[in-house]
């Protein structure tokens, strides 16, 4: 059974929208329809955090709180969730939430325009974990820009929260959970004027929707897709939201391989992969803000096929494979063969990525580096990933991939071939680095010049050698 109703919880009530506009952002819904203006538009691209709201979602009988950018999320994606905006943090009797109290007490607002976003990011952080250290705090607000304070008082406020965990939301949680359970669990089909939106529940349904609507756009995290509306001012006529399909959102280990369902949010990937590949976790921490990583998915990052998608060089160097759902069943393909040219992949119309398979290498040296203008929430000028196996001082196996160096994320084949079976030594790496010029011919753009990209790519190879050899890290961000 399908439904055209989007249901969510707001101010302890179940709200129902009939056929809402699939191109309307949650931000505009909040400001224009709910008439709550505390949530601000700062950039309309998920880059400043002024629009941050929190969604409560039922996970294992508990409510999990996720900060997201409401400016790049569409209204129908509210379905099944609890919507919390900054005004809702003030309790009915007028008392402020501990996060709000701390922000005021520690002088954490000046012009105040970014403040609601910070309040919401810190609120979500403090609701999900009782104790948060300075790194947790910095991560939680890494996607919130403030131009006035210099952040120090905001960090102080977040360090000095009182009784946040056991707040009104905690007290109300039973009621909220009951309300969340009342929300219909049907597949959603919306028709709003000339626009359609589908949120199927199973892969079977998804296939049917695709068959009937082959010209649809897939929405996974939507952090890229939504920009068509908010930046290009275009309409997206047909959207298929993949996030309600449980079969696509999973993590498992099988045959010494990690398998991620394609719609697994990056924040989950990041947590899981820490044990296996600490640098993968490092890079994902810097992939984007918490708001972005909460919704952005690993499959989405692959299908978008951006040359600067941060997971891609890492997956390439780890010899990852993907499973693609085709008309005639599943197809497995090495990621190395997947990217064709700028933002073009081997995905045919109507096909989608089901899962990503990453081998677990036990005795390899895996390291990854991201170079960008800013540590937090920035796009790479160069991202490099190295996977190397040494035996008896010789390089037995090596896979090297770079992002930001070509129109697609790409392996450094010449460099790899030279290194393979060579001695693991400094002069070999010094020679190998010169081959990167053969592998790549990067462009100059607003992020970095061609020369810088090439030079850094070479230097990162050397850095990888030194770090592997000395078993020490030489990084400024430690």
């Amino acid at each position: 059974m399908n439904s055209n109703k989007v249901q969510f919880i707001y101010e302890n009530k179940l709200i129902e929208l009939d056929n809402p506009d699939p191109n309307q952002t949650i931000l505009n819904f909040i400001r224009d329809k709910l008439k709550k203006t505390g949530t601000k538009e700062g950039c309309a691209e998920g880059g400043c955090g002024a629009c941050t709201i929190v969604l409560g979602e039922l996970e294992n009988k508990k409510i999990k709180y996720k900060a997201i950018n409401s400016c790049i999320s569409f209204t129908p994606t509210l379905h099944g969730k609890q919507l919390i905006v900054v005004e809702n943090l003030v309790s009915k009797n007028g008392s402020y939430h501990p996060v709000q109290e701390a922000m005021a007490k520690y002088h954490a607002s000046q012009c105040g325009f970014c403040t609601p976003g910070f309040v919401m990011s810190i609120f979500a952080m403090s609701k999900n974990r009782k104790k948060n250290n300075e790194d947790d705090i910095k991560d939680a607000i890494s996607g919130n820009l403030c131009r006035c304070t210099g952040y120090r008082p905001i960090i102080d406020a977040a360090k000095n929260l009182k009784k946040t965990y056991f707040d009104e939301f905690y007290k109300n949680s039973k009621k909220t959970i009951n309300l969340l359970k009342k929300i219909h669990s049907k597949s959603i089909i919306i028709e709003n004027k000339n626009k359609k939106y589908f949120a199927p529940k199973t892969i079977g349904e998804l296939k049917k929707v695709i068959q009937k609507n082959p010209d649809s756009d897939f929405l996974s995290g939507g952090t890229d897709l939504s920009l068509k509306v908010t930046k290009d001012r275009k309409e997206i006529k047909k959207i298929i939201n993949l996030n309600n399909i449980k079969e696509l959102n999973f993590i498992k280990i099988k045959n010494n391989e990690i398998i991620f369902g394609s719609t697994t949010p990056l924040i989950e990937v990041e947590k899981f992969i820490l044990k296996y590949y600490p640098d993968f976790n490092n890079i994902l921490r810097r992939y984007g803000s918490v708001q972005i990583r909460n919704v952005g998915t690993i499959g989405g990052n692959i299908a978008t096929a951006s040359p600067i998608g941060d997971t891609l060089p890492l997956l390439l160097s780890l010899n990852a494979k993907i499973i693609i759902q085709t008309k005639n069943g599943d197809r497995q393909i090495y990621l190395n063969k997947f990217f064709i040219k700028y933002r073009k992949t081997k995905l045919k119309k109507g096909e989608f990525i089901k899962s990503i398979i990453i081998p677990i290498y036990k005795n390899h040296n895996f390291k990854a580096y991201k170079i960008s203008k800013r540590f937090d929430d920035d796009i790479s000028s160069v991202c490099a990933s190295f996977n190397l196996k040494i035996k008896d001082q010789r390089i037995q196996d090596v896979t090297i991939a770079y992002g930001g160096m070509a129109e697609i994320p790409k392996r450094a084949k010449n460099c790899e071939n030279f290194l393979k079976n060579s001695k693991f030594s400094e002069d070999i790496f010094e020679k190998a680095k010169n081959l990167l010029k053969k592998d790549f011919n990067p462009i100059s753009d607003m992020r970095a010049s061609k020369n810088y990209r090439l030079e850094v790519a070479e230097n990162l190879l050397i850095k990888f050698f030194i770090e592997t050899k000395t078993k020490k890290l030489f990084r400024v961000y430690q």
């Binding site: 905006v85 890494s142 210099g150 970095a448």
Partner: protein, 766 residues
Amino acid sequence: MKNSDNYISEIRPHDSSYKHVSGTAEYTDDIKEPYDTLFGAIGWSKKAYAKIKKIDLNEVINSEGVVSVVNYLDIPGRNDVGPVFDGDPIFVKDKVEFFGQPIFAVAATSIELARKAVLKAKINYIEYEPIITLKDSLDKKNLLFDVRKITKGNAQKKILSSKHTLKGNFTTGSQEHFYLEGQVAFVIPKEDNEMTVYSSTQHPSETQQLIAKMLNQKSNSITVLVRRIGGGFGGKETNFMTAAICSLLAYKTKKPVKLRLDRDDDIILTGKRHEFFSDYEVGFDDKGIIKGLKIKLASKCGMSPDLSYAINERALLHIDNAYYLSDLQVENYLCKTNTSTSTAFRGFGGNQGMMAIENIIDNISRFLNKDPLEVRKNNFYKKNKKNITHYGMKIQDNIINELFEKLVQDAKYLKRKNEIKKFNIKNKIKKKGIAITPVKFGISFTTIHLNQAGALVHVYTDGSVYLNHGGIEMGQGTHTKIAQVVANSLGLPYEKVKISSTNTAKVPNTSASAASSTTDLNAAAALNATFKIKKNLEKFIKDKYKIFSKEEPIYKNESIIFGNRSFEFKKIVMEAYLSRVSLSSSGFYSTPKIKFNKKKFTGRPFYYFCYGAAVSEVTIDTLTGENILERVDILHDAGNAINPAIEFGQIEGGFVQGQGWLTMEEVKWNDNGQITTFSPSTYKIPAVSDIPKKFNVEIYKKGKNVEDVVNKSKTTGEPPLMLAMSVFFAIKDAISSVSNYKKIPKLDAPATAENILLSIKELKKN
């Protein structure tokens, strides 16, 4: 009136803090619109320098929801929003001068429909070769004004006779304001062609006047209101186009219109900080003392004069920073380019001038193989000699020598410098650097007539107070501080004073909230108004209660103590009212002592100076250029701060903004003049992980303004931005260590990872 009594130093949250945190603080876009409100969008040029050959707006006009389309033909009066000089047309007539210049605008039934509609214009251009870079403009002598020359003594002769000389050049980059609230206006037309204008501006009076001129109406028909703005930093000091176009749309449609630029348009259309290039020759002795300095100072002004003349003037006035320059020769070039107009930005040219001299001092130190600390100290202005600036002003409040020395001790600069040298010997990949830099920043508008302010204070019969003044609340806490001093002056609790929207109908002819002067000027005006009300009350009490005491009455604990008697404030104002005594007054203030001859470049342009110093320690990665700010120690002079918590906020926030300017923020244009960094995905301002890992900030405890400024305080608006100079020179120090401190690195600002790596490469090459 003397401000010499009743000083306070009272920590209190920003007046709107609880509204900020709960989302109830109202910004212009949050004002509830009447049902028939229309929404605007601007159609702008896609060429940097061209003649419009043909323009076809038919599809725009017929686009869904469009109610009105306006262009230059619809302007009844002046088609220009240049604040001092002409040059900023509201709409282009036929020649476009930058990529993003407004050509037309629409009003439609929704913001989405308006924004979609403007994209449908069909415009044919005849393109000319644009001038985009500062270098190109300077080479072609494409200047907005004649070259300005400043001469003191005989620099050429002194350089020739100096033991050492150095030559070089240096660039500091542009910067986008990136206030979180973009440009926005909301205009409601009223009877008799009156307009109520809500605008996110630092300058309501000029907004009012320019709209009046555009509509060919009197200023008294336009009222501009501003409760608060979501950050300004100079970016809303001029940039009147948003309010002007919004008003024109409201005038044309006779309906309320809201016009909000989205982030991309905001960055593409509006002004930024001036890029500065300097070319210098300096002569100095063994101690690094500058004997003569010749410097060419060129700035990228964009397509119009805007405030560039005043900004360059402030650069010239700060080319000394805290150093005595006996013989100086400066040539100043204001270069026109086909880019959006460069405009005010915290520091207002002062910071660019100061960076030029700091870089020279740093290079002298490295040339002499001396610690830059020593060379800085050797060149400082002294108290009783070497205390006349290059514009002939005697410095009477100099505290830089002792403030600097205190910070050297507090931050353990010398010990750490030694440790860093040891670290650098041991480490090949990571290198550390440290630097201490001073700040001396002149306070007052250098255009003398702007140094005035007005206020309006009412006392109601219940003893509550209504406060209005010309200052704009942009996050700096001016409303809070002024309410604090007014409450203190009346002996009332802060809560009794109501802060209100800045309103051109209440306080007229105000100056922009700029030049760090907002609180100094407006608090003094508010105290003047309060003083007049107090005089009325005192006369009334004297007459009614026959008090012959010659002692000044004391206002304390909601009472007036007068001649051994105590009068409850609330009761006495009611009594005064019943006896027909005025309880309301306007107030006025103009800064004394200042005088400046722009032509001769002499006089006293500043009422006083702010001082500060900072030590920064960085680590750089010599393989990638990545860097991190390990520790910062700041000692800053805020005089007798009214509200230290607010001053700390200004100091830290200003520092981080300066850090962004000097290390990571890069505005880039491609060859055809299109800006390529127009959103947060491409333009990076500091985020939380960029701030110093250790951040020690102190207000100079001995600080007290020697001049008669409210509360003996000193402003903290712009000066802290320049504390970030220490970050840049710490990076340069770290780079220099690659050559074992033997060579002078060539490093321009911003010191991005890319520029750092380039500098290291050059250093290794030579």
